[in-house]
């Protein structure tokens, strides 16, 4: 069902936890099964220099959130905002049918984080 890349990311997630003093935060809740993904970033100048996540979710949701924290690093906020579920899924070599929502949640949490930063300005 899950490919090796997804499983590896799930068993060894990176950038887990809260960043104290984060300059940007995002949160999404899946209304169907109440999975939650939170994203924390530090924006220095125009670039994202630190990113972390917390997730209450299934294997692929944890894997997608973990990979998303790596994908936003060293990107501008606008570049991060352009990352799609498709990009996140591609980074993991594909997700099983019925698990595509995990990549969408990771996309949405980035967009929520960007929207929150924009509101602060």
């Amino acid at each position: 069902m899950y490919n090796e890349k997804v499983l590896n990311e799930f068993f060894n997630p990176e950038n887990v936890g809260v960043i104290k003093g984060a300059t940007g935060k995002g949160k999404v809740v899946n209304p169907v099964d109440k999975e939650i993904v939170k994203l924390y970033v530090v924006v220095d100048g125009n670039k994202i220099t630190e990113a972390s996540f917390q997730a209450f979710g299934c294997t692929s949701t944890i894997a997608c959130a973990s990979v998303a924290t790596k994908m936003v690093l060293n990107k501008t906020v606008d570049e991060a905002n352009a990352i799609t579920a498709h990009d996140i899924e591609a980074e993991l070599g594909g997700l099983p049918d019925g698990k595509k929502h995990s990549a969408k949640m990771a996309e949405d949490v980035i967009k929520n984080m960007v929207a929150n930063i924009s509101k602060q300005k």
């Binding site: 949160k27 209450f56 299934c58 049918d97």
Partner: protein
Amino acid sequence: MEKQKVVYLDNAATTQLSTEAYKEMLEAYNSVYGNASALYKLGRDADELLAKARQRVAKAIGASPSEIFFTSGGTEANNWAIKGIARANRDKGNHIITSVIEHPSVLESCKALEREGFKVTYIPVDEFGVIKYSEIVKAIGPDTILISIMSANNEVGTIQPIKAIAELAKANKVIFHTDAVQAIGAIDINVKDIGIDALSLSGHKFYGPKGVGALYVKKGVKIDNLIDGGKQERGKRAGTENVPAIVGMGKAIEEITENIEENNKQLRSIRRYFLKQISDLIHNISLNGHPTQRLQNNASVAFEGAEGEAILMMLDREGIYVSTGSACASGSLEPSHVLLAMGKDIETAASTVRFTFSKFTTKEDIDYVVAKLKKIVKKLRSISAIRIYKNKVEI
């Protein structure tokens, strides 16, 4: 490389084949390969094996052999019972009563009948997963022809008051069917004593082979044919019989029903040991299902802040096999319909793992599982967006 320890705790999904059943199946495969409908000896021998298996299944549930029809499994038996009885008795009415926590093979059969114009009432359950008897009383009307209520639930293990429901059905001249797929071998079921008109069972849930089951239909109960063709299964379910599988199921049901008490004693002890261990070592957990009116092989546990599938995958890496809710529901994002019907919130349903033990499960297995489980739940809670403190949750 050292062989990884394997602990199989998904026995409500399927069980390991009994050695004795396997031996009888091998004999049937190798020596009695004739078509059971053939006139010559090799065919008659196969037919004899079928008769012996039918006798064993009948004896296990207190039925007559002529009331047992072999099927491809529990799903087929449920489909046949519900659709076959409803359609054959349509002249008497078009109303069916079932419950919200039935197996998908029952619920989907009822939905199919609704598309044909039948009316179906879905009875709710209480917080322990017990069907509300008073709601059945209220639902019965002059058009009611069939009540189908499971003997025990597959997800949380709650045993249903089927004797009372059977009596109610009889008093109202309504046919009573029970899906006993999880209950056979776990509770003593005698169809005559209880007053059951139709009962579904499945071989691989009690250490028999997969792909075989049976439907008991009480003499005199009208039911449409399932498959038209030859004269197999008295013309009601045509097609050459899978003799070795039927033989294996016959042996398995004989073994399990002869040892119900002994098996339950062992399972109760394993279950208690497991619950004591996880309660001592892991905080913020809760149990689903009825505390006493229950199958002894089932422990449905919610681990706050850790998602069920994630726990399953981490246990899998340690050679431990469990399930989230029901395997039939996996692959879907929707939380378990059974847990939601019991009033559990979505987060609890999403955090639930089902452990189902077998006669092969040992205390050493449990020690291994609990040690791994403790680490896994701790790890997932450290990742979780839901903060768990002892007896306190923060989202």
